[in-house]
């Protein structure tokens, strides 16, 4: 357990320096601030509309993937670029421990920052409307989306120096472009997997409202959880395999 904890802690320090903490911490509260500034004096139904607008227009498709992308891409990518990968792999520890703790470190930071965003937005909405039942679903939805993004972007960061660029293209061109046009592909979009979690846990009113604003074909809760776990496991297995098989210098 000691090596696993040590690598996870080191990864958290590595991917979250002070500058990133400030920038992403502030960015995470942006949806809540925008909501706060634009919802005063709205009736409850309009407030829910505006809240879901923030969730669907800002939080899930922009904040969650960008935070997860930048953090995850550097978790293993920085080790490779800085030559510290040899420091890690030339230790008497299992490769699974390395890949698992790198994944965990990136996830803690990405999910943590995204939770700041979702909690802030959910709390502002709850204070405005008195409906606290959206907070937990939104937080859990953000965490699930973070898990899937981290699962994709940690290996991507290992394979290429252009992980951020490729990741942004994936998010903006594929997810927010192609999948938005072809809703049948929504199961391939990580932030929609997070939305499924949110929708599955939130009230029926929220789910109906989401359908009204065009977020359709979301998976059931069980399927979402299963898919998230499988994607995370596959990611860790892929990193482990690479560390075992590939030339590392």
């Amino acid at each position: 357990m000691k090596p696993l904890r040590a690598i996870t802690t080191a990864t958290i320090r590595q991917v979250l320096d002070l500058r990133r903490a400030i920038i992403f911490g502030l960015a995470a509260t942006a949806p809540a601030l925008v909501f706060l500034l634009t919802t005063q004096a709205l009736v409850d139904e309009a407030a829910l509309d505006r809240f879901l607008g923030m969730v669907v227009g800002l939080y899930f498709p922009l904040l969650v993937p960008i935070v997860a992308l930048v953090i995850s891409a550097s978790a293993l990518g920085d080790e490779r670029r800085d030559g510290t990968l040899s420091f890690l792999v030339l230790r008497p520890i299992r490769r699974t421990a390395i890949s698992g703790s790198k994944f965990l470190g990136a996830l803690i930071v990405a999910a943590g920052l995204n939770t700041i965003g979702s909690a802030a937005l959910g709390i502002v909405y709850a204070v405005e409307t008195g409906s606290w039942d959206v907070v937990l679903p939104l937080v859990l939805g953000g965490i699930v989306a973070s898990i899937v993004y981290v699962a994709l972007f940690v290996p991507l960061g290992f394979f290429t120096d252009r992980a951020v660029l490729i990741g942004l293209a994936f998010v903006f061109i594929f997810e927010n472009g192609v999948v938005s046009a072809l809703s049948g592909l929504s199961s391939l979009s990580p932030w929609r997997i997070g939305m499924s979690m949110f929708s599955g846990l939130a009230s029926e009113e929220v789910s109906l409202q989401l359908t009204d604003i065009g977020i359709a074909n979301l998976s059931a809760l069980g399927s979402t959880l299963f898919r998230t776990v499988v994607i995370a496991a596959l990611s860790i297995a892929a990193i482990t395999l690479v560390l075992r098989r590939r030339d590392l210098a």
Binding site: K2, P3, A6, I7, A10, R13, Q14, D17, D82, G83, T84, S86, F87, L88, V89, L90, R91, P92, I93, R94, R95, R244, D247, L248, A249
Partner: protein
């Protein structure tokens, strides 16, 4: 006892007909050698294949052909063997946001050291880093980073220590300290493999040398043995004079001179008999009315052996 100077009797590392190529480029070609307790210098010019060889020894990269065994196993298949291996890589390989103490303790924890804190203190002391141990590595000079890497490699008390150009960037005091440290570790019975292209340092550190040129094993054995084995190696002498071309032409008539080249007024003379040449040059210079301002044999170290090996290939 083995008669092949590239092999040792009780090897801890065995390299068996190993080649490594990256696409069309052959980095290491059919190298067979072994390493045992004591300090072995891995010698060669930049690009000779030293770093590739060291990386293969650690299992960081796989041989394209052949086999490597470290303590009887190929490390990649058995990560537990890394408890017995320490590597000081040539590249930066440090976490700039960590202090040296955190870095070494991180290495200790990952190496499974039971009392990581005490082991860290010992390793930092051994690498003579006590005064700077709580400063961030980002502010370290290259030489200090080298020492931090040495401390991190030593913290697990490894039986085998692989050092890739460990003296790069160190000042003379640090260099002397590290050379003495590596010698001491070798004397304790550890297998120390030090790669370098700085030949006089290899000579000061190593009991035994493996020379690699263009990815091939060029020579092996102790320095003196390599030197004496190459009896035909010519000495090279640098002569500074005001009448270079005239003196060169006249020296070429001397039977003890094998070759002369002139580079920007400086003569480089090759001979088998340094003493005779030293006695003959003043007389020849007098004949052509040349004034000698410097007579400097260039073959005073392993450098000559190395240059000879490279030229011979």
């Amino acid at each position: 006892m083995t008669s092949n100077p590239a092999l040792v009797d009780s090897p801890t590392i065995e390299v068996d007909d190993v080649s490594k190529w990256f696409g069309q480029k052959v980095a290491v070609s059919n190298v067979t050698c072994s390493f045992g307790p004591g300090v072995t210098g891995l010698l060669g010019p930049n690009g000779a294949g030293k770093t590739t060889t060291l990386r293969m020894l650690t299992g960081l990269i796989r041989p394209s052909q052949g086999a490597i065994r470290v303590l009887g196993v190929w490390p990649r298949t058995k990560p537990s063997v890394y408890a017995s291996i320490g590597l000081v890589p040539e590249e930066a390989a440090v976490y700039p946001a960590m202090t040296a103490r955190e870095y070494v303790q991180y290495a200790a924890t990952l190496s499974g050291v039971s009392d990581a804190r005490a082991a860290t203190d010992r390793a930092i002391d051994t690498a003579d880093l006590d005064d700077a141990a709580d400063r961030k590595l980002a502010g370290y000079s290259k030489g200090m980073r080298q020492r931090a890497k040495v401390a991190a490699a030593l913290v697990g008390d490894p039986e085998i220590l692989l050092l890739d150009e460990p003296l790069n960037g160190t000042d003379p005091v640090q260099r002397l300290h590290l050379i003495n440290l590596f010698r001491r570790l070798g004397d304790e019975g550890r297998t120390i493999v030090v790669s370098s292209h700085i030949l006089d340092e290899i000579e000061r550190m190593s009991d035994r040398v493996i020379a690699i040129v263009d990815g091939r094993l060029a020579a092996a054995g102790d320095v003196a043995a390599i030197r004496s084995a190459m009896t035909d190696i010519p000495y090279r002498v640098r002569i500074e004079t005001d009448r270079g071309r005239l003196l060169a032409a006249r020296l070429l008539e001397e039977s003890l001179v094998h070759g002369v080249s002139v580079d920007d007024g400086t003569l480089y003379v090759e001979t088998d008999d340094l003493a005779d040449l030293g006695g003959r040059v003043p007389a020849v210079a007098h004949e052509v009315d040349a004034r000698i301002t410097a007579f400097q044999p260039e073959d005073a170290s392993l450098e000559s052996v190395f240059r000879y090996l490279v030229r011979k290939r």
